[in-house]
Subunit: 322 residues, 2 copies
Amino acid sequence: MAENKEIAVGIDIGGTNSRYGVVSESGEVLKHDRFPTRSYPKAEGFVRAISRKIKEILAEFEGYTFKGIGIGAPNGNFFRGTIEQAPNLNWEGVIPFVDQFKKYFSERVVLTNDANAAAIGEMMFGGARVMKDFIVITLGTGLGSGFVVNGDLVYGHDGFAGELGHTFVYLDSGRKCGCGRRGCLETYASAQGIKRTVFELMAENTQISELRDLSYSQMTSEHIYHAAQNGDRIAKQAFDITGHYLGIKLADAVVHTSPEAIFLYGGLAKSGNLILNPTIKAFDDHVMNIFKGKVSIRSSELNGKQGAILGAAALVWKRRKS
Amino acid sequence: MAENKEIAVGIDIGGTNSRYGVVSESGEVLKHDRFPTRSYPKAEGFVRAISRKIKEILAEFEGYTFKGIGIGAPNGNFFRGTIEQAPNLNWEGVIPFVDQFKKYFSERVVLTNDANAAAIGEMMFGGARVMKDFIVITLGTGLGSGFVVNGDLVYGHDGFAGELGHTFVYLDSGRKCGCGRRGCLETYASAQGIKRTVFELMAENTQISELRDLSYSQMTSEHIYHAAQNGDRIAKQAFDITGHYLGIKLADAVVHTSPEAIFLYGGLAKSGNLILNPTIKAFDDHVMNIFKGKVSIRSSELNGKQGAILGAAALVWKRRKS
């Protein structure tokens, strides 16, 4: 065997299931599995159980140097190593997640929110390998974002920077958002957002659509994607509207940090050109002159791979300039 | 005399006049003056003349160590040392301003846009001395902004980051902006913006106002400020509306970089509570929950001082992490 290769464990915390895997420094997921988050009413129990599991797996990687654990979690705070009031998790309050893992591991344990992990993953293993200024947008149930400036992730003074999903499409009006306000981008551009748009369109017009046979509870963004691929006009229009809002708000976002690229990652981003084309069009139509032609909007190179695991693992290797 | 103290020259380029001064490392403006920008049809002539003037003045500072020249300029590009297509300057095209100065000075010459210079000034000599994440908003003829993240100014991949004046208050509607689009924040929150609001209010209602005696060309934001201080209702309402739009868009801005403070600098910011109070109210009413109570909005500590000169000079001492 050659000299020891480095590995890290990436964990992506989800409401129902978490996914974890062993990742090489070159970005290969050597082994991965899922773990039932919802079976653990307390975070301590979850951490104890998944730590045991990870130690079992690491035993198979003799001859590798284990560098540590990276965790992407909803409402994860990098500075404090905590998960704070995450609405989709069973665990309430502020959870000292990193400290809990450190009971079982002496190696580096790093945590941040899932969109930030995606951005670090893009920088280490994806399309941003040679970039210092870019944005990753995660289009899942909600809309998350990770901003990289001058080669460093932007955490802000409190660790909560990058909440692009909660910028206003409309002021004091528009759709009600989970954050308690109205008109947030995430209520338009996300898996939930596109579904709301489909329901608005079904109410507004009389076009025939296979989506009319699904209840609100049943419908997912995959249904909308497949309908659009079958030529369903309501589904296609819903993608156009979603991209329209997203593109305009990305035009607003670039004036803050002037990135050279914006990567779309996650569920809805996997729809490819259906979401990319209208987003790029709206962006080009609205972006300020001095940024025109400079910002590339594209699919994340981690889409379709174990991107969330890769991003979380990348946290272990990526150290912050200070 | 004690050991040599450091000094730098700060130059603030304006369309009509430029201001320059000699600044000590502790932020004292030891000497300052103005220089007629508009008298020089070519940038080369301006640079030659002001350089001669600066050398004369530096001769008075024997026993000090001269560290270099910092320049704040409209459309100034830090990476390239250029002034690019500045609409308010006589000089057209892309001007290699730093290179032109380097013909006359062997010391460090640094250039950035005026809002970025204000942000560096606030960090070295103002209210942001102990901060790593903050925003400076300059409320002049237009609205400029400088973002500091993790102790470094955000330049973006091309040097043009921080154009908050050109985010949308309204999508595809609202006031026509100098940038060619509609609905930009700067058309509402700036010296020009508040004047447009006054004219809208004079058209809409019949309230008596001393501002009705001034033409559009005559009226400045100082007139509006003085009218508001005299209890003029249209003027006061114009400040409230200006602050309202500014506060809402600042609520949008903080989700990008999560600053601990936002400083208002420049002409309109000198109106103090007239602009601060409605801005803070609108911000508090609209900011996302997780940022509530965390972000302080206040007047720049450089207001009323030779702030633009201080900011420009600060560029010489502030080096970028890399």
